[in-house]
Subunit: 320 residues, 2 copies
Amino acid sequence: MNRLSRDPVALLKAAREGQRLALARLMSLVERGGDEARLLGAETYSHVGGAYTVGMTGAPGSGKSSLTAALASVVRAEEERLAILAIDPSSPFTGGAILGDRVRMQDHVMDDGIYIRSMATRGHLGGLSLATPQAIRVLDALDWPWVLVETVGVGQVEVDIAGAADTTIVVVNPGWGDAVQANKAGLMEVADIFVINKADRKGADDTRRDIQQMLELSSLGEWEPPILMTVATDQVGVDELWREIAAHREYLENCGELKARRIRRIDAELSEIVTRSLENRVVATMDRPETAKLKEQLMRGEIDPYAAAAQLISMAEDDN
Amino acid sequence: MNRLSRDPVALLKAAREGQRLALARLMSLVERGGDEARLLGAETYSHVGGAYTVGMTGAPGSGKSSLTAALASVVRAEEERLAILAIDPSSPFTGGAILGDRVRMQDHVMDDGIYIRSMATRGHLGGLSLATPQAIRVLDALDWPWVLVETVGVGQVEVDIAGAADTTIVVVNPGWGDAVQANKAGLMEVADIFVINKADRKGADDTRRDIQQMLELSSLGEWEPPILMTVATDQVGVDELWREIAAHREYLENCGELKARRIRRIDAELSEIVTRSLENRVVATMDRPETAKLKEQLMRGEIDPYAAAAQLISMAEDDN
């Protein structure tokens, strides 16, 4: 296996033959970004739409990983195959991500019908919003029918990633204020299905009522998000979750909303790529000696930041 | 008061005379962004460096608002004045922010030496990272000597905002895993002072040990972040926190690091402004008929996203 090529095309071929190491390398390539990822993108872009994506998001500790593991068991019982991308909000300074959550998935690691991958950025703001659709496209090209994207739904980027899925599950826990926090984080608007996990704890009914109230206050579309109760660690309620995912999929397919969602997704990806490309140009400009002079003026309060920014932009443009 | 002008210069003058409503309007102006905010920026940019900024961040529910309220009492006992900016991660879809946390600050609302303001973005990604330094500059120009910026330290943007302060306080709670979550969210690297709030609960010593271990594993500078125990709701440990803030300030001023931090801050702000300006250009390009055609090709898998992005960028450039 060590002689495995690093060439994206060869890796794709090896991954199609079932080599897990090849798939792992492809994912690392997507994470790293750059020219090889670009090349891989060009190899996979035409495979669009086969895979159905499920986003799962919620606060740290809400039991997303347990629920994912429980769902994986249901999916396997149905003889379906599931790829899982666990998005790790990595440290912005060291790039290190703690992958402890992986441990809970150990039941599935030897199963060919399940693929699990933790993804982390290497300190790039917005890197995940670029890497995630690319990773999904690779899995799609390798004929994975279901892709579950698990994110900690606390930052804007993570909410955006989960909300870009075909079906989005928002996980909360019983207890006062949990639904309020979810609402604050912008999770209510992206939810197609609510799950109250750890529903054997006190306060599950109150939480359900909180969510119902918030849903009544918001402007709903035709789909009314169901509110499910689960105890993921005991596999309670997980069959029903899988049925609701299927029901939401059927709804999206029948009313034409699935295509609309996917158009919005590609739209967002395109904007993101354009923005990042422009940012790279800015970074190059920030290193120039003229920029150092501008910064000195800023520090002394001789120029305002917006005027300085305008000067930087015209410098960057003169380069073209 | 209803005849208060909406002109930034007149508002600044009224705010200098102590009119709270004028200050509130200035802050709304900063939140909204646009030309008036720009004009305000041009009026305040030369007032740099008077205000000392303290960032406070931590997970939802860790007691940041209670700690802020407790700290405000200490600051008032010392006859200092404190402005507080509470950064609300607002819903990305509705722009609505729940300001329930304000309630806890009611002890201070009638006090002229305390100013409290919740800030929210109106759906702009990164809007807060632009609005926050502007809001600080306005408070600086109005001679507030201390500005405390409170953020929910869960998203990248919020961590960046808190980490950009002169002194950054990271708040955690007793209990297994809380320090680990803080580390995951990138909070360890930005902390100048750790606070274990609700320290009367079980597990406070374990949490202290967790933080100490993580600090030992990371590459520290000369300043060794103290780990304090507080019970904010009972005002326990809050005097010590205020002393540690003063000690950190003295350290930064003596070793020259304060200036270095502020240069990095203005650097980050400048990059952000440039990036957002470029983004606005992209948004304009996204609305053109040629772009719609590109998107159709993308949906059909006829072109890859990076190639499409390159075409969009050259279109945007041709406009200049």
